[in-house]
């Protein structure tokens, strides 16, 4: 039950945060469209994500594999 409350809290706070914004026109996206503004992990970061997946029991949520490959070394 505690986890359900925590999940709901995170979702509610994120919803409030994400609703507090204005519509941005395409011609106003010079900064947003910068290559470094991408929200996905960098391509070279995949190696670190894999290592952290194996070396930390709490894996997932990093755009990486959460299964496949045992990492048992």
């Amino acid at each position: 039950m505690k986890i359900v409350k925590q999940v709901l809290l995170v979702i509610t706070m994120s919803s409030l945060l994400f609703s507090a914004c204005t519509a941005v026109k395409p011609y106003e996206k010079a900064f947003i469209n910068d290559e470094e503004m991408g929200l996905n992990p960098r391509k070279e970061e995949i190696f670190e994500i894999n290592s952290e997946t194996y070396r930390e029991g709490a894996s997932g949520g990093m755009g990486s594999k959460a299964g496949g490959g045992c990492g048992c070394y």
């Binding site: 995170v10 941005v24 900064f31 391509k43 970061e45 670190e48 952290e52 997932g60 990093m62 496949g68």
Partner: protein, 396 residues
Amino acid sequence: MESVAYISKLVYLIILVLGSEIVFCQAQENKPKRPVDVDFMFNYYEQEGNHSPVTGGIGTEALTNTENVTIVHIPVDSAGKLDITHSINFYTTASTDRIDTRISSASRNDIHWQVGVNYEKEKPEKSCALSLSASASTESDYLSSSLGVGYKKWSKDRNNFFSAGFKAYFDTWILIFPQELRPVALADAPTDKRRSYILDLSYTRVLTKRIQGSFFIEPVYQTGMLATPFHRVFFADTNLVRIEKLPTSRFKLPMGVRFNSFIGNSLILRLYSRYYWDDFGIVASTSSIEPVFKLSSSLSVYPFYRYHIQSATKYFAPYQTHSLTESYYTSDYDLSAINGHKVGLGIQFSPVLIKKTVESKSQRRALRSMALRYSQYYRSDGLSFWMISAGLSFSF
């Protein structure tokens, strides 16, 4: 083994069919060809530690790993793309060398090979895209294959994006037990299969002219052999040794947010925060910060810092402290109460005008980007690793 062979065949069949389609479509269309992009990436990794689970939570964890990844992005007609990924890594590890003998050196070698395909088709008139993926991988004791499906939807002004993906992994162990526990350990291995089902949901929003953020949640359900068959566990007040034993199902729930903001004209702040819970009893939190300094329109330098903290699984206990009355037990410090710090530095060069004309004006070969990244990781139980990664991207 059969599932990996099946998925491998499927992967090659998809490449063959889509490759034919590419040739056919490009021959039919008079439109300028979209370029084929290729990413080459390389990584070297070195690890030190003294809590190897192979020897029950004591002993060396020295490891080196070298990995090469190639990703080819092929345009298919005007709205589709095919990504083909191939990776191979070679590693030597001191710990798994002790499956057979207690005293040895860092001489155990293995190769992990992986191939994957992802096909995505955009439907611009409906502001959505669908994707299908498959992958297969092998190493000496583990075979893995996966199938996935994805859906993306965005608003017409492209300020809101929603994506949903589902992926299933079908993994098979080649059960290798510690030498002294063969064949009795077979009774402690419930199966040689492992299944992982991953649902990946995310919502991204452009918040202002300079800030965008995303929220994600990625529930994972795993079943089968979740323990590692050659991890030893030593019990208190006895000389008894057994292999690690964990429940045959696990539910994980990671969720988090990312925020990127452009500050002034040359600084970008990339923030990440994640919360994690699972039914093994692990609760974790991870945060990272990455200020990107844009030295010019094509050159960026970025230091980064990441902090991770987690509680231990209820099944963990150190060397020779487990009780024989316990149903499940592990001495794997990856599942213990730890915190980890990662620091590093990266450099990204994305030339805009370095293009070399070959054969004709319409066919150009260009270097799109170069990247170099170094990181160092320290874990509270003494484990540490460092790695260096490099990447080159070309358009053909």
